[in-house]
């Protein structure tokens, strides 16, 4: 009996403000993961400045390549492919990873795999537990809020999407009003644990018969409340504000997710994206799913794999590798790359 040969992929991720490399074995095992974060730099500006982000990515790209190989105790000749996020994201930032991965592929003769960043976020779950299909993912981050139906490891379709702001974006915007340093999610989540939902902000689109989200109304209601209090020199409790905001976000995310789980009856439920690190959201989804008659397996990736990282890209790349889906040297960054939309989303 001959065992199947192991597949090792070196992966790159540089779509926003993290430069990351990883070596992933068989799409499941993290042999190394290096993440260089630029948060300290962008905190100077209150948010990610694309040109600054691109400049930082190129500073570290060769070093973190060597570190990923060293940490995995591996060499180029032990690898089977090189993978890279090619979109969506900031175009200049993406181009560092794409240029580096293509150059590495040319220099080593290893095949190249282009990975969709969102597919990567969802596939962080594959590094955590076995996914059985069909699966449903709630993908929440600074740029995206989507419900994704996964028929198999390669065929995904979006069944619900945000009509305006992404959830993570709303966190950062109200964070600015509360005087919380970028990125605001972690602090607001912590405050929310200590406060009460006393403001009863609107829950957008809850009544509607679809899986779409909207957070701009909530954001405006929040900002108006804060400004009004300012004008009449009234001091509002920041922790209650945070709790009220977070409750409104989570109510909408949880209810839409539960409806989708009831309709599609997936075997696995996955929470993905930066906002997947939110404790309030994790707790609520777990509790809601326990109430369901048909309970899917729940995969909540560890916090380290919720933010942008190359491990998730290596996991997704393995599935593409197995399917023989390779890129060539013309691979380019695609800042507005999107997973396909389900038929009902297209009209």
């Amino acid at each position: 009996m001959s065992a199947k040969k192991d597949v090792r992929i070196l992966a790159y991720e540089s779509s926003c403000d993290e430069t990351s490399t990883a070596v992933i074995k068989n799409g499941r095992e993290i042999e190394s993961l290096v993440v260089a974060t630029q948060i300290k730099s962008h905190q100077r500006f209150g948010g990610v400045v694309p040109e600054v982000a691109s400049r930082h990515h190129i500073e570290v790209i060769t070093q973190i390549t060597k570190e990923a190989l060293a940490e995995a105790e591996t060499d180029w000749k032990d690898l089977d492919a090189i993978a890279v996020t090619y979109g969506p994201g900031l175009v200049g930032a993406l181009l560092i990873g794409v240029s580096a991965a293509k150059a590495a592929s040319m220099a080593t003769g290893l095949p190249l795999i282009g990975v969709d960043h969102i597919m990567g976020h969802i596939m962080a779950a594959q590094l955590t537990d076995e996914i059985t299909y069909p699966a449903l993912a709630l993908q929440v981050s600074g740029g995206h809020t989507e419900l994704v139906l996964m028929h198999d490891p390669l065929n995904f379709e979006i069944i619900g999407d945000t009509r305006d702001d992404a959830a993570g974006e709303a966190y950062d915007k109200i964070g600015r009003v509360l005087g919380v340093n970028y990125p605001a999610g972690k602090t607001i989540d912590a405050w929310a644990q200590e406060g009460q939902d006393t403001f009863h902000f609107p829950r957008a689109m809850l009544q509607e018969d679809n899986y779409d989200f909207s957070f701009s109304g909530l954001k405006s209601a929040f900002i108006n409340t804060a400004h009004h209090a300012d004008q009449i020199h009234e001091k509002l409790n920041k922790k209650d504000l945070a709790a009220s905001f977070q409750a409104a976000v989570i109510d909408v995310l949880a209810e839409k997710t539960v409806h989708a789980l009831q309709q599609y009856q997936p075997k696995t439920f996955i929470l993905g994206g930066g906002v997947a690190a939110n404790l309030g959201l994790r707790t609520r989804l777990n509790a809601e799913i326990k109430q369901l008659k048909q309970q899917p397996k729940v995969i909540l990736p560890p916090l380290k794999l919720c933010g942008d990282n190359a491990a998730m890209i290596g996991a997704a790349a393995y599935n593409l590798f197995e399917a023989g889906k390779f890129a060539d040297l013309t691979l380019n960054a695609d800042p507005s790359l999107e997973l396909p939309y389900a038929e009902h989303m297209l009209n």
């Binding site: 260089a36 400045v49 040109e51 691109s54 400049r55 190129i58 060769t62 580096a100 220099a107």
Partner: protein, 248 residues
């Protein structure tokens, strides 16, 4: 010595294979916006023509800047990776020096400039010594007025009255430039002489100093607007780039 040279600094994508002083193969794609898509296939094509492997290359050369920020990063990232993985030499040269080398036979003052919008230029001035460009007005980001004053000063210091202006954006301001520099004999470069050619980079790369691939960065010659605004507002020093990126 086999050298692969590339310039992605301007809209002219240029790649050359040089052995010692001789350009064996070179290719250019003018007016390209998408260097990312075209660079690697072009390198591949030239290597194929030469019958070389990438591993045969002894030295990688790149136009470090100034130029299009995104374009520079595509080229610099590519050679950083090549040199780092294959353990080969890396050299990076000023885009403006490579441009000046179009006039290696000239005894004029060569002004290399790239249009940086709103009457600003990335520019430098060079004279030729033994067929090699020597910088006499530092590469920098200049407003047109400052640039013209700099040209006048460099010409006086070098005892030159003949001045060649090459690159982008200058010919459009020819009248203003002639009016401001009445004592100088100005020639505006034509056609191909305004382009950055990797074949010239290949020639200069032979004697250039090698750099550590990990330390190789584009020479932007300009901070980002966000950083300048932040600095003006807070009065804080810019600091080292490494102050801002941390492994977690």
């Amino acid at each position: 010595m086999k050298i692969l040279s590339i310039s992605t600094a301007t809209s002219n994508l240029s790649v050359a294979l040089t052995e010692d002083q001789t350009t064996l193969f070179s290719a250019e794609e003018t007016d390209r916006r998408n260097h990312s898509e075209h660079l690697d296939p072009l390198i591949d094509k030239l290597l194929h023509q030469a019958g070389w492997q990438l591993t045969d290359i002894n030295r990688f050369a790149v136009a470090l800047g100034p130029g299009s920020y995104t374009g520079l990063r595509i080229g610099v990232t590519t050679v950083k990776m090549f040199a780092s993985i294959l353990h080969k030499d890396l050299v990076g040269l000023s885009t403006l020096e490579i441009l000046a080398d179009n006039f290696a036979q000239s005894d004029a003052l060569i002004v290399s400039a790239l249009d940086a919008r709103n009457d600003n230029f990335f520019a430098g001035a060079y004279i030729m010594k033994n067929g090699q460009p020597v910088n006499v007005m530092a590469d920098g980001h200049y407003h047109l007025d400052k640039l013209l004053a700099g040209i006048e000063k460099a010409a006086a210091e070098q005892g030159k009255t003949k001045v060649i202006l090459a690159g982008t954006g200058l010919i459009e301001r020819a009248e203003a430039i002639k009016t401001a520099l009445p004592a100088l004999e100005l020639t505006f470069a034509e056609g191909d002489d305004n382009q950055v050619h990797a074949s010239h980079l290949g020639k200069l790369a032979l004697s250039a100093q090698t750099i550590d691939p990990d330390q190789a960065l584009p020479r932007y010659l300009r901070r980002t607007q966000a950083e300048m605004d932040w600095h003006r507002k807070t009065g804080k020093p810019f600091g080292q780039d490494s102050d801002y990126v941390e492994e977690v």
